[in-house]
């Protein structure tokens, strides 16, 4: 059953918002989040300073809700609705882009579960205050590490591939050449985010500060 009346354009608008929200604010936030967390690779003090600043922004709950929670919830739930309307067929038509279609859905689900858990443990569990020591303590648990590696990779893939989808679905990259370039751009973003995320996770686990060399 269609979710909207046959003559309604609501579906179109929701679809477009779903697609947009994946890039802005969610995608942008992911990049920013990886950026600020990368201070963990610099030094404990720097990390605590940066996270402290972020945790003390004015109107915090409102900003978090507007920029993160609501878009995230909408992007995920409406995304799952979209998923439910499709019928994957990558086994019978095993083209690469078709596998990407399937992966985009599963990484989305994985990212949703991971982010939920991540928020629960890191945001609400600590009542909104995160310090290096606390995270490092969590990350000592190898299961945490595995979950984070999976989660960060899923989020990064979802963003990278999503950027390519976005370029096509918003009519930005039209010619095959442009779409090819957009795919590369997505791949670079995806791989870049994955590498940064993995480095941060391992940094916490091993108390590793590879970027701290130039602090002193």
């Amino acid at each position: 059953m269609p979710a909207v009346a046959p003559e309604s354009k609501t579906g179109y608008i929701l679809d477009k918002l779903q697609s947009l929200s994946g890039v802005v604010p969610i995608g942008a936030y992911l990049v920013d989040h990886l950026w600020s967390n990368s201070y963990a690779l610099v030094s404990i003090e720097k990390y605590n300073q940066v996270s402290g600043e972020l945790q003390t922004v004015p109107w915090r709950i409102g900003v978090e809700a507007a920029v993160l929670w609501i878009p995230l919830l909408f992007h995920s739930l409406y995304g799952m609705y979209i998923w439910s309307r499709g019928k994957s067929n990558a086994l019978s038509h095993p083209w690469m882009s078709n596998w990407m279609y399937v992966l985009q859905r599963w990484t989305g689900l994985l990212a949703f579960v991971f982010i939920g858990w991540h928020l629960y443990t890191e945001r609400f569990g600590g009542h909104g205050v995160t310090r290096y020591a606390g995270v490092a303590q969590d990350m000592a648990n190898p299961w945490y590490v595995i979950a984070y590696l999976l989660g960060v990779t899923a989020c990064s893939f979802h963003l990278g591939n999503g950027l390519w989808n976005f370029a096509c679905k918003w009519g930005i990259a039209i010619t095959p050449k442009a779409q090819h370039a957009a795919a590369w751009l997505g791949a670079v973003v995806g791989v870049g985010c994955t590498l940064a995320g993995v480095a941060v996770v391992l940094g916490f686990h091993y108390a590793w500060f590879p970027l701290g060399g130039y602090v002193q």
Partner: protein, 250 residues
Amino acid sequence: MADKTFIVRIKRQQRPDESVRWEEYELRYRPHMNVIICLRDIAEKPFTQSGVESTPVSYDANCLEEVCGACAMLINGTARQACTALVDDLEKPIRLEPLTKFPLVRDLVVDRSKMFEDLKRTHCWIPIDGTYDIGEGPRMAPSVQEKGYPLSRCITCGNCLEVCPKVNQRDPFVGAAIVSQVRLFNMHPTGAMHSAERLDALMLPGGIADCDNAQNCVKACPKGIPLTESLAAVNGQVLVHAVKSWLRGE
């Protein structure tokens, strides 16, 4: 010397509400055979490999040179036209099934009227004032013609819909073929005057937003139509139209 033979397996279903059965036929090989010739051989001797008398297989076919679009079916799992499916190039046994995204009529025949209905829904035509002699058509740059002509070769075979994960019973998505036609008509000087009607139609359920960029369509198109290019182009057009009409009433 015994003739060289090969096996064709066909998914049969006498009516939409009857059960499916698979039949195997052993056919005599000749050079340059295609799937149509196989089906005609069966019609001439409708006896399965085990000697059971059956009926000729129902299938759609017309031009037999891949320009009418009628004979689309799944051949060894691939959505394609039967007339250009040469026996020499196919893995044996050859497996024939009807397309799965359209209501089944019988055997290999499906009902693709959805596509024609969607062409209607999206106003895929150039509205002319009449057939009277009122002079020449608009001038058109050769570069526009060279972009438009490949799009206008779409034979409405339905292969792009068949392979699309977003075309199924749950979703009324019109599919790449129709979106590409919208692009064609929006490209024409007269058609462009009425592009808003088509773009509006593509904002409704089943419209362009349902495309999720699996990009299977372009690989299944027997005519090599740049369908993904059309989808992206029309996506942009719809978006610009939506924003302009919302913000500025244009």
